[in-house]
Symmetry: C2
Subunit: 338 residues, 2 copies
Amino acid sequence: MSGVLTIEAIRASASRIAGAVVRTPVVRSERLDDLVGTQVLLKAENLQRVGAFKMRGATNAVRVMLEAGERPRGVVAFSSGNHAQAVALAAREHGLPAVILMPEDAPPEKRAATEAYGAEVRVFDRAAHDRAEMAEEVVRETGFALIPPYDDARVMAGQGTAALELFEDAGPLDALMVPIGGGGLIAGCAVAAAAVAPDCRVIGAEPDASGDSMRSLDAGTWQGEPSGPTIADGQQAPQGQLTFEVMRGLVERSVVVSDDDIAAAMRALFERAKLVAEPSGACGLAGLLRHAHDLGLAGARVGVVISGGNVAPERFAAITGSGTSAQELSTHRPIPKL
Amino acid sequence: MSGVLTIEAIRASASRIAGAVVRTPVVRSERLDDLVGTQVLLKAENLQRVGAFKMRGATNAVRVMLEAGERPRGVVAFSSGNHAQAVALAAREHGLPAVILMPEDAPPEKRAATEAYGAEVRVFDRAAHDRAEMAEEVVRETGFALIPPYDDARVMAGQGTAALELFEDAGPLDALMVPIGGGGLIAGCAVAAAAVAPDCRVIGAEPDASGDSMRSLDAGTWQGEPSGPTIADGQQAPQGQLTFEVMRGLVERSVVVSDDDIAAAMRALFERAKLVAEPSGACGLAGLLRHAHDLGLAGARVGVVISGGNVAPERFAAITGSGTSAQELSTHRPIPKL
């Protein structure tokens, strides 16, 4: 769907957001390679501003409006987490007020961070309200401009800059594993890959409670639906219709993983790569850990986007089962005199 | 003490080890800056190979021997952790066997990693044996060459390359905070700073159970002694005599922090910078968090070496108090349907 998103748009986005986002490092770990059975090149978007790739798309969307002379009175977004923080910070940096709609069950650390970036957070009940309708209402009330979380060409173009950087910094890759929530990240990355690394396979990863992108890609038609319960709070959104149009034909397939697979990937990143990843952030690695063999990737050189790191230590410990009892604490804490 | 360690030796080391060590990224976090009250530029040596800066000095020491045509039959090291892993890996990469003496109370994850890198680990009881004597015995028995953990010009030169990179990548700094165990890292960094960033203050940080470097620097004479009990297992070694000779006159002072300060710094790195640091690894940040005001560093631009990340998730949870009960787990784990 070159009409919706082109490599030129991604390149323009890269120039537009340079300096306002971090060129995140590619992190490697021999012990991670040993565990996975492939070479693993981690694009550490957990080290991005606001702790997630979302800063790329949000910044691009704001700057596209300002460049076009469409200075909005403010911006509105709906998000359970990282897009919220990204829009809040991008708005503040460009002198715009922001209203963010967050579901009441969003992780408290994500809500606190969104408020810390200066946004007005309005909480809604997922069961009782449709978030898109609520956002429309805020737009009507305030005259602010909506920045959608993924079904938006400006947002996808921004997210695709992560893959552009990875291909520049990591050299040739056999495959690229990307977590899929609504699909903005993988859509942007797939267009970038098709242009600059056409031999690189692009593969998505989703929690098995979701899998709508897998079904959409397998069927060749959009099958978007919201996720069932999963620890991967960043991947509960339905596959976007626009993101699906962009990724169709470019993304080979999407694989699903269990919450336990995601927990194992979070632990592996902590222990072996010294990186904190939130559940959605680790889903690409979980997909590779679980499916490297079926995907024919044993020994291959694989890029993996670690898409975010916004998880509280308590939630991390609960998910990975590394919380300790008082007894363990007493044996771990003091270390005998040298 | 330019006789012991010169900037030329550090620059030569940088060339010698290039490609065998990671040029680690400088990581920033606005939310960390807000917490600390300074600009913080993290030199992320936890993302170094083997998870710690020690890979620099170990690789340099091995390559200096090989360059000089002194190919040893193998190498020996004594270490409770990261130097052990670094010597094990550096030896394996150069086709040399390694024997590593580790105390029986070394963190199990560090021992397992050392064995995974192919070294023979010999365990000793700190109370019953002197590790330096034991190492001499192994040297006599095997004919292997000893690579000391810090009191060695080759090792200090290697460690100093971390600061060279930081000054190149981070631009001007008002101060550099460096954890001190035996002092190899700060000695190398101080010589690098004096040469390439002479206006940058170099300040050490130690657990308050140690503080022998603080006392040595305050007194102007070597006061080395082993640490009392602390969670900072990488900083239990006594201040080295050679490292003290090098750092004297170049390191402004060393500050001490409590184990609770270290735990707070580990948590801050997790939550705000998405980095896993072991206790010793976080000690420089702990020093800055605790002492930024007394040191006159409010608002300053401060480099902080995060020296290592080798801590098991269980130990991390115990130290930071983020282990959760079964009840918390049930509220954290599944997230309601969108």
